[in-house]
């Protein structure tokens, strides 16, 4: 299993668009930007709805369950912050509640070889510091 204990994850810097996402994650809740005109969820946050160009966007809770849309297994140790964890699975998750809104993360708690397109995953929260908590992923039971 990938050893994450010595990894130094770079800490996200929230900005005007992303602050509500990180505030929700700190409360261990997953909230994504949703268009109040057409109902479309999107991630990462953007200035306009990528479906209907509305600027009326708010963050709303979504269930933290979805499928692995894609993944890569990292072997290269060029990024020294992550070198101690190789090989590790970086995954892209498509949430059940937000089709098309792709979230990056790591697959935790299992061998990296368990990462496969279409596998069911659920969110787990990894606290980095008092301000920032990362949404991460483990295989779902369903």
């Amino acid at each position: 299993m990938s050893d994450w204990s010595k990894v130094t994850r770079p800490i996200p810097v929230p900005n005007e668009w992303t602050r509500p996402f990180w505030a929700a994650a700190k409360r261990e809740s997953l909230e994504l930007q949703r268009c109040q005109s057409c109902g479309h969820f999107q991630h990462p946050p953007f200035a306009t709805c990528t479906q209907c160009i509305s600027i009326d966007l708010k963050f709303e809770p979504v269930r933290g369950v979805g499928t692995i849309y894609a993944y890569t297994i990292m072997y290269h140790t060029g990024d020294k912050r992550f070198a101690s964890a190789v090989p590790y699975a970086s995954i892209v998750v498509e949430l059940d509640d937000a089709p098309g809104a792709l979230m990056a993360g790591n697959l935790l708690g299992v061998e990296y070889t368990e990462a496969k397109v279409g596998r069911r995953v659920e969110v787990v929260f990894e606290k980095l510091n008092d301000d920032i908590t990362l949404p991460q992923w483990r295989l779902a039971n369903d």
């Binding site: 894609a70 990056a104 279409g118």
Partner: protein, 394 residues
């Protein structure tokens, strides 16, 4: 069809000697390539009146120093002091293909007569993607914390999506790497000229970011290439046979920053660019005699072949088998060796080869009876452009 088809042509081409390490400043490489292209055309440097480039260094975490890590238009102007200079540009929304398209537009507008386009690529010492710091700001806040660093991983996720959605195996990619390395042995300007690659080498190589092994990734080098572009009437009076530009396109789709891994984005980027190129030139994929498709990471060739319309989605790795992409195959592909053979010089090498094949100047790697020569320069999603060059104006 485009009313300006075949009114502009690539004439001379030039190269510097690509090296693994940055022994001499990048500006010297760019100068060598530009001088080579001008001399190949039979022109004098004083004749050059247009300059265009895309100077970006794709490596992160390194100082950007003009003349050392990039070669801007300003740097080239300062070196050459061109007495006849009337026009110049650097592009941003497309890679070097966009610079070539802007030079084409400038020639058609009559604001310059002989434009030089160059691409110079630096190989910084130390780690290429030198990802710095303890913080992840901007788009990286949603990717950096999870170990998504360089562009290779972004490409790799779309590749696993493609492989598993289409129930395919990365083993088939060995054919691309091995065939292109075979082509490389006909290109003395390529970094891997003189170094062969077997299927066994491919399968034994270390994994970088699954599904990419070492030989799926172009090797960073220090080097430059350049072309002279001019109106067709003028090109006919110059030394080399012209490669006429029959049509071009650029990608019309872009992702919101930080979104990662979407396979459909590669497809939409590529198909939007290719559609313009087919419509402007009047050709279809079936008319193409030889193709150069950007291969900085091998999977780019999949997205290119499929989104440009050479094969159906999900079929690219089967399409490249059975000798189809050999020099005497049905669709000879990356006949100069591709970026996997030349080293990381980006898409201008693909454009040069497209032009050389169209003008019958590709030497021992010349494909027989070429008229329609296709180029997909740069990865379709990011900065993609497409071109068709022809031997016979129509």
């Amino acid at each position: 069809m485009w009313e300006n088809r075949c009114k502009v042509a690539i004439s001379g081409v030039g190269y510097s000697k690509a090296t693994r390490s940055a022994d001499i400043p990048l500006a010297a490489h760019a100068l060598e390539a530009v001088r080579g292209a001008v001399a190949d055309s039979g022109l004098r440097m004083e004749d050059i009146d247009g300059l265009a480039t895309y100077p970006e260094l794709p490596a992160t975490g390194h100082a950007e120093v003009d003349g050392i890590s990039v070669v801007s238009v300003n740097c080239m102007m300062a070196m050459l002091k061109l007495p006849a200079l009337t026009w110049h540009i650097q592009v941003g929304t497309t890679n070097i293909g966009g610079a070539l398209q802007q030079a084409t537009n400038a020639l058609l507008a009559g604001v310059c007569k002989y434009a030089v386009v160059w691409r110079a690529m630096h190989n910084p010492s130390g780690t290429y993607q030198n990802l710095p710091g303890n913080m992840a700001a901007g788009a990286a806040q949603f990717t950096g914390p999870f170990g998504f660093g360089g562009p290779g991983q972004g490409m790799a996720v779309a590749y696993t999506r493609w492989l598993e959605k289409n129930v395919q195996t990365r083993d088939k990619m060995a054919t691309l790497a091995v065939t292109q390395r075979k082509h490389t042995q006909h290109n003395p300007h390529a970094y891997f000229y003189g170094t062969e690659l077997t299927r066994e080498d491919y399968f034994a190589s270390r994994m970088v970011a699954y599904p990419f092994c070492l030989f799926d990734c172009d090797i960073p080098v220090q080097g430059a290439v350049a072309v002279v572009l001019t109106l067709a009437d003028r090109a006919r009076d110059l030394k080399p046979a012209p490669a006429y530009l029959a049509g071009y396109g650029q990608r019309l789709h872009f992702e919101t920053a930080g979104r990662i891994g979407s396979l459909s984005s590669y497809m939409e980027g590529g198909s939007s660019s290719a559609k313009l190129t087919w419509e402007r030139s009047g050709f279809t994929p079936k008319d193409v005699d030889v193709a150069q498709i950007y291969d900085g990471f091998s999977a780019s060739v999949i997205y290119g072949l499929e989104s440009y319309g050479f094969c159906k989605e999900g079929e690219a790795l089967d399409f490249i088998q059975d000798g189809r992409i050999e020099l005497d195959g049905e669709l000879p592909l990356n006949t100069f060796g591709g970026s996997l053979g030349t080293g990381r010089i980006h898409g201008l090498w693909h454009i040069i080869e497209g032009a050389l094949q169209a003008s019958g100047r590709a030497g021992s790697r010349q494909v027989k009876d070429v008229n329609v020569s296709f180029v997909g320069a740069s990865a379709p999603i990011v900065t993609g452009t497409t071109f068709i060059f022809v031997k016979e104006p129509y």
